[in-house]
Structures are given as structure tokens and as C-alpha cells.
């Protein structure tokens, strides 16, 4: 029972991070029909920016968090300007994806160049004391609890932004029907740009929140990208609640598989889930049926 509750707690708190990564992917995919291949790098650079501000410059964690989120927002806009906008006009998905792959490798190499060589792991100081807490017989690391709460806050802020603000409604309208949005006078290109920025900002926030739990290294982006994508696909890729549900499920499945079957499964659970979902239920748990366009 103790093991189960421990795995559950870890699963839920890492799952919350996956949910944030998946959220950014889904928001961008819904609006643009493109999966941002450099999304993992937004996450990774968010963590590294926070490291720079918090550890190297010694600023407060909250200040660093805000700055890192702003930084990844700008990076997301960069992805839009470099890879999406110039290539989408030519209407080829293959070139957009190839360009994003190139960009993601470039950013990864840049992070390695700026923050240390291959195999160099950076440690991020813990936010609160690493003592575990008791909750009616369930042990939980206070660190994980903080991350979980913070993820909840980020999700809530995002939901408020997406549902209630003008910018969020622009994004919804564009995602729903880009042509109609253009007809009623929205500047669709700007909305796309903002969507990329917001998606990246959410990923950057996740990166900052994850940093105190684990070590920082340039390759972490790809791993989180794959896990976020697994979560998004499990939830249906076009559904925001689906992405959140998928994130928590991936986190829990991964921990359970690692705890009860084999530790190595933690790394591959996401790959297996992607392949299984894609082959047997490509629409995911909550996604609507995909129409085949002729």
C-alpha cells in the first residue's frame, strides 16, 4: 500500500508536468494543425533560463519563473516566425516539420554550448525542504505537492486566458475555422504567432517547475516532448481536457509500470502508448473523429 501511494503521488506530480507540455502541444495543434517539434526545447530552455536567473544570478524563484515564462513565450514566437509562417504559405507540412526538427536540434546544441558540455547535468536547488509529509497515512514529498499545486495554478491561469480574454477567444475562433476567422477580420497570422507563444510559455512554465525535481540537461526536451505527445495523443490531440487527462494517465502508468513490472519501462512506456494508441484508436480517449479531407 505504501509503495502504491508513493507511486501514485509521484505519478500524479510528474503527470501534471506532462499535462502542461501536452496542453501547449494541443493548443498549437488545434490552431495550426502542426505539432511543434521544437516544443520540448521550449520546455528545456525554460528550465535553463530559470537556472540562469535563479542560480547564476541569484534572483528569487518567482521572479525567475516569470522571466523564464516570458523567455519561452518569445522563443515560441521565434518558432512561428522561423519555421511556421514562411513555410505554411507554401502549404507543405513536410517542410514545416523538417524545419522544426532542424530548429529543435539547433536549440538543443545551443543549450549544450551555452550551459555545459555533453553529459553535464545542472542541479537546481529545491524549493522547500525535502522532508516527506504525512497525509492520513499517505506519504507525499512536499516538493511534489508544491509542483502539483503550481501546475494546477498554471492550468487555471491558462483556462481563464483561453476562455475569458479577447486574445483567448481569438485563438479559439481561429482554431475552430481559420477562414471564417479571417473573414470576420481577425489577423490570423498574429493569432498563430500568439498561439505558438502561449504554447511555448506553458511548456516553459512546466520546465521551470520540473527543474527543482530533477536535474537539467539539454536532452531532457526531447524526452518530455515525446511524453507530452503521448499524453496529447492519448487524450485525442484536439481536446484540451483530453490532454490534461492524458498527462496524468501517462504519469501514473509510467510509475506503475516502473514500480511493479520493470524499472526500465519508465522510459519506454510513452513510446509504447503512442504506438498502441495510434494503431488501435487514433482519435484518443476524448478526441472527436477525424475527418478525412479530399
Amino acid at each position: 500500500m505504501e509503495m502504491f501511494s508513493y507511486l501514485m503521488a509521484t505519478g500524479i506530480s510528474t503527470g501534471a508536468l506532462y499535462a502542461l507540455v501536452a496542453l501547449g502541444l494541443v493548443v498549437v495543434y488545434k490552431a495550426t494543425s502542426v505539432v511543434n517539434f521544437a516544443h520540448g526545447e521550449m520546455f528545456m530552455l525554460g528550465g535553463f533560463l530559470a537556472f540562469t536567473f535563479h542560480v547564476m544570478l541569484g534572483w528569487q524563484y518567482m521572479v525567475s519563473l516569470v522571466l523564464a515564462v516570458v523567455g519561452s513565450f518569445v522563443l515560441g514566437i521565434g518558432v512561428d516566425r522561423v519555421a511556421f509562417r514562411p513555410l505554411m504559405q507554401r502549404q507543405t507540412l513536410v517542410s514545416v516539420l523538417l524545419c522544426m526538427v532542424g530548429l529543435s536540434f539547433f536549440l538543443k546544441g545551443l543549450a549544450r554550448h551555452l550551459w555545459g558540455g555533453k553529459g553535464d547535468y545542472l542541479t537546481f536547488p529545491p524549493l522547500v525542504s525535502p522532508e516527506p509529509m504525512q497525509f492520513g497515512g499517505i506519504m507525499i514529498m512536499s516538493q511534489q505537492l508544491v509542483v502539483l499545486v503550481a501546475c494546477g495554478i498554471v492550468m487555471a491561469v491558462f483556462m481563464v486566458f483561453f476562455k475569458l480574454t479577447r486574445a483567448g477567444r481569438f485563438m479559439q475562433a481561429t482554431a475552430d475555422n481559420p477562414k471564417a476567422a479571417r473573414l470576420v477580420g481577425l489577423r490570423v497570422d498574429r493569432v498563430y504567432m500568439m498561439t505558438f507563444g502561449v504554447g511555448a510559455a506553458v511548456a516553459g512554465a512546466a520546465g521551470v517547475l520540473m527543474a527543482p525535481l530533477t536535474l537539467l540537461y539539454p536532452d531532457m526536451g526531447f524526452m518530455l516532448f515525446i511524453k507530452g505527445f503521448a499524453a496529447a495523443v492519448l487524450g485525442g490531440l484536439t481536446s484540451i481536457p483530453g490532454a490534461l487527462l492524458g498527462g496524468f494517465l501517462i504519469g501514473i502508468i509510467e510509475q506503475m509500470a516502473a514500480g511493479y513490472i520493470h524499472t526500465g519501462l519508465q522510459e519506454v512506456a510513452a513510446f509504447i502508448i503512442i504506438m498502441v494508441v495510434m494503431i488501435f484508436r487514433p482519435t484518443g480517449l476524448l478526441g472527436g473523429s477525424r475527418r478525412r479531407k479530399v
Binding site: 495543434y29 507540412l93 532542424g102 536540434f105 539547433f106 505527445f229 522510459e267 504506438m275
Partner: protein, 349 residues
């Protein structure tokens, strides 16, 4: 003019130089020349899948690894001779490639890209973690290869084997893509529904595209294991994936001769990057981006425009040009019907 600058002359000079390489250069240069040929094979296989059939798959590095591991492990565990193990590895890679066509039937674009990426990472994980079979992250040394009737060392033997394989695979790729198979691939790339309505069996041709590219990558893998005398997972990671993509894009998507150019240039530029101690990730990430953005059809269109004698049967017509090409010019001329069709002949400028 065409005789001196044409495609054929370029290929004869390239493969002639590669043939003479072992007697002229030192060991390191022979190694690089061998890598050049391997990347030509890899780029040819990947280009047929992405450039011709339009299937954006990310599993080429995994197929490369499956070929190398397949051949090496058959030699190591079952003591097969290289002459049986290498075809074995090639066929295993081909079978794995064909399996990937199953998801490709139901999905395309992003879904396919990420499913194959997940598959590639899964294969990589197996290479590093399935220690009892694959010897884990440290890799293994396959038994030496016996060229017994011919008095050559393993390096030179593999070198010439690769040379022969590269020429044969180039010719096979060129002729297959000029045949009805190549035209079917291009039709699928330009519109699946349209291709299906023309009577092209999607299942068969997609499976074929994946099988061909798996076979090419597997061949390169089996040769790579023999060349290096060592097989380890770090040779088949994500970096390989981007290098293969870069070779195809630099040379020219949808151009067989472009893949030859891409393979040569990529290997040379990787060595230069290493020499200058630049970050390979940054250099090739940036190179891939720049080519996709500013020269999406690769260097080969540039050559085709300025040098005579570089025409190919099916030309890659990107994006808007593909829309325009519905006019007679491109569609009739490139398929090669012109010689028999009188009316089309007249309309040519």
C-alpha cells in the same frame, strides 16, 4: 559540353575516385570514403520514402541500426558467416520497415512522423537495455569477416563491397523511380485519394516504399558494422536521424542524383564540422532549416538550372510549382512520353 559536365560523367568520376581511393589515401581517408558511400546508400533509401512517396518517417536511423545489429548479432550468437548474416540483417531491417507501413496506411503527416519517431526511440531503447541479446549500451564486437579466397584485409574487403553495393543500389533506385513504381510513389505523394482513384493500390505501394527504404538502410547498417568492426547504440541515435534528413534535403528531395550529392556533401561537412570543433547538432540543425527555408529542392535544382545534362525522369516540383505543373510542360515531358507523342512534341517551345 554535356559530355564533360553531365550527370553520368560526375558519377563516373566520383565512383572512379572512390575505386582508386584505397591505393592512394591513408587509412583515415579510406574510412571517410567508405562513410561517403554508406551515406549515399542511406540518402537514396530515405529519399525514395520521403521525397518520392511523401511519407515523412523518422525511423531511418532505427532501420540502419537494425541492419547493423541484425547482421552483427547473427554472427555473434549463431556464428553465421558474414555472407549469410549481412543479407539476414538486411532482410530483418526490410521486414521492420514493412511493418511500419501498417500505421502509415491509417495515418499521414504528423501522426506518422511521431509514431515512427516513437518506434525509432523504442528500438534504440531495446539496443541499450536488452543487455542479454544486444550487449547493452557498451555495444559489441562482431567476429572478424573472412574474405578467404581473396587476399584482402577486412577494411579493404568491406570497402570494395560497399563500393559495389553503392553502385548497384544507385542504379536500382534510379531505374525503379523511373518505372511505374516511381510514378505511383509520386502520385501517392501528391494526393492519396487521387492516386487511389487512378487505381494505385495504396497498401501495396506504401508497403513497398517502406520496404525499399528499410532495405537500403539495413544494407548500409550491415556494411557499417563490418566496416567499423563494432556495433553500439550510439551510432544510431537521434543525431543520425537528423544527419540522414539533412543529406536528403541538401541534395534534393525527390532526386536520385541529389541523394548522391547529398551523401557526399554531408559526410564531408560532418568531418569539417568535427575538425573545427563546432557543435554538430547546431551546424546540421541550422543547415536543415536554411535549406528547407531557402532552397527547399536542394542543391540539385541549382545544378539542373545551370549545368546541362542533369535532367531526371521525375522532377520534384515543390508546392506552388506543383500546382502550376498541371499544364502540359511538366507532366508530359517529365514522364517521358514526349518521344512517342507527336502532338506534345509540337507544343514544346
Amino acid at each position: 559540353m554535356q559530355f564533360f559536365l553531365g550527370k553520368r560523367t560526375f558519377l563516373i568520376v566520383l565512383f572512379g575516385a572512390l575505386l582508386l581511393m584505397p591505393s592512394l589515401a591513408n587509412e583515415y581517408h579510406i574510412f571517410i570514403a567508405n562513410l561517403v558511400m554508406l551515406y549515399i546508400i542511406l540518402a537514396l533509401g530515405l529519399n525514395m520514402l520521403i521525397g518520392f512517396a511523401g511519407q515523412l518517417a523518422f525511423a531511418n536511423a532505427a532501420m540502419y541500426g537494425i541492419g547493423a545489429y541484425g547482421a552483427g548479432l547473427l554472427m555473434k550468437h549463431f556464428a553465421w558467416p558474414y555472407w549469410a548474416a549481412a543479407p539476414g540483417g538486411m532482410l530483418i531491417a526490410m521486414a521492420a520497415g514493412t511493418l511500419l507501413a501498417l500505421p502509415a496506411l491509417r495515418m499521414s503527416g504528423i501522426y506518422l512522423a511521431l509514431t515512427t519517431l516513437a518506434f525509432a526511440q523504442f528500438v534504440w531503447w531495446l539496443m541499450t537495455h536488452w543487455t542479454s541479446v544486444t550487449f547493452g549500451a557498451g555495444g559489441f564486437i562482431p567476429p572478424p569477416i573472412d574474405f578467404s579466397p581473396i587476399p584482402v584485409t577486412q577494411e579493404i574487403g568491406i570497402y570494395y563491397l560497399t563500393w559495389v553495393a553503392a553502385i548497384l543500389l544507385y542504379l536500382a533506385a534510379k531505374n525503379t523511380m523511373a518505372s511505374s513504381i516511381g510514378r505511383a510513389f509520386v502520385a501517392i505523394r501528391d494526393g492519396e485519394v487521387a492516386a487511389e482513384s487512378l487505381g494505385i493500390n495504396l497498401l501495396r505501394y506504401k508497403a513497398l516504399a517502406f520496404a525499399i527504404s528499410g532495405f537500403y538502410a539495413g544494407t548500409a547498417g550491415a556494411l557499417y558494422g563490418g566496416m567499423l568492426g563494432f556495433v553500439g547504440p550510439e551510432s544510431f541515435d537521434l543525431l543520425q536521424m537528423i544527419l540522414h534528413k539533412a543529406a536528403v534535403v541538401i541534395g534534393g528531395l525527390g532526386s536520385i542524383i541529389g541523394s548522391v550529392i547529398g551523401g557526399v556533401l554531408l559526410t564531408v561537412s560532418v568531418e569539417i564540422t568535427k575538425e573545427l570543433k563546432w557543435s554538430i547538432e547546431m551546424a546540421f540543425g541550422a543547415l536543415l532549416m536554411l535549406f528547407v527555408l531557402f532552397q527547399p529542392t536542394g542543391l540539385v535544382t541549382f545544378i539542373k538550372r545551370w549545368v546541362p545534362g542533369w535532367r531526371e525522369h521525375l522532377q520534384y516540383l515543390p508546392e506552388r510549382e506543383a500546382q502550376r505543373s498541371i499544364d502540359v510542360e511538366a507532366s508530359v515531358e517529365d514522364v517521358g512520353i514526349t518521344s512517342t507523342d507527336e502532338s506534345a512534341q509540337e507544343r514544346r517551345p
